[in-house]
Amino acid sequence: MLVRFNAMADNSYETKAFAAGMLNPAAPKPDEIIGPNGKAADKRYNVYRNNVTVSLINAVADIYPAVQKIVGEEYFRAMAREYVRAHPPKSPLLFLYGQNFGDFIDRFEPAKTLPYLGDIARIERAWLTAYHAADLAPLDPARLGMVDPQRLADISFTPHPASYIINSDFPVHDIFLMNRGFMELAKVDMSNPQALMLTRPQTDTRLILLSVGEHVFMDAILKGKTLGDASALATETDISFDLNHNLQMLLASGATIQINLDGQAI
């Protein structure tokens, strides 16, 4: 089976012939490729093919250091090789690569014994995506004070493009921080589910651990639900839900950029 570099902007016959089989070690060298003075090019093509595969594995390793730390380098590179061959880049920008590595890990049979690993990968991908998201100023808390108090339940918020929520059945916040060297290694309770939010209001990506109520509230807010609906949903889920505390987190996290009312920015 031929694997195409479908990201290549150049769709010429020569490019397709060269790219076909680039990630498939069993594919023969395309006939169109020859060495200088008409010499054989099989070794050259194999060297090039190996370099492409290794550099893409290196890119996956750069994006997912915590996953690599958890499974070890040898395991990681074997898994990444499978991934690279099944999912070649769709963009020439390498920092966008590996978007579905977490989903790949979920289905990767040897990783079934580490059921949290896919979520760790999703955190690492979101971390880098947040890093490259547009630099937009977070919502100024004073703007919330200008809303007509009678209309507060009807306002909604525009999410900051660097805001992401990840919800897991496992303590992935702690596992991620420990394997990125941000937290002391310690025993984690695998029966403790964690949700978290990533934001990047300024230069650095931030990770905020969310309680059950905070997760329901922030998830609803970032999905564009009104403040009234988000508060009600969170109250239904968590009877100890504290609206004042959650609004402070919403404002301090820099997760939103704008208040909307009746379909218009205010």
């Binding site: 690569y97 108090p149 209001p201 650095d204 009234g228 609906d229 609004l247």
Partner: protein
């Protein structure tokens, strides 16, 4: 459904929570990441310069000599220009021409 949902948090409760939140929120927490750090040139050891831009970018960990003048590292705000790295060399908030690889 939506009417029933909205009735669970009254307008008065919401207004007081919003007022309390705005009064209580620590504005510094929004800006701290920015305020607490500054880019400091010429103080980073070889290969230890900052940047978390990921693969395919060429900044993080690419400086090749110690205290390279055009490589920067995040440091605590206000501390950069007081940082001495020996031989009368100090950090700078702008790129330096000293210690640049040939």
């Amino acid at each position: 459904m939506s009417n029933a949902v909205k009735s669970t948090v009254s307008a008065a409760v919401m207004a007081s929570a919003v007022a309390a939140a705005i009064a209580g929120v620590n504005l510094g927490t929004i800006n701290d990441a920015h305020a607490a750090k500054e880019k400091c040139f010429g103080v980073s050891l070889a290969g230890q310069n900052d940047c978390a831009a990921g693969p395919g970018t060429t900044c993080q960990g690419t400086s090749t000599i110690d205290y390279q003048g055009n490589a920067w590292k995040y440091v605590e705000a206000g501390s950069c220009e007081t940082m001495s790295v020996g031989d009368n060399k100090a950090g700078s908030l702008t790129a330096l021409t000293r210690d640049v690889p040939a």
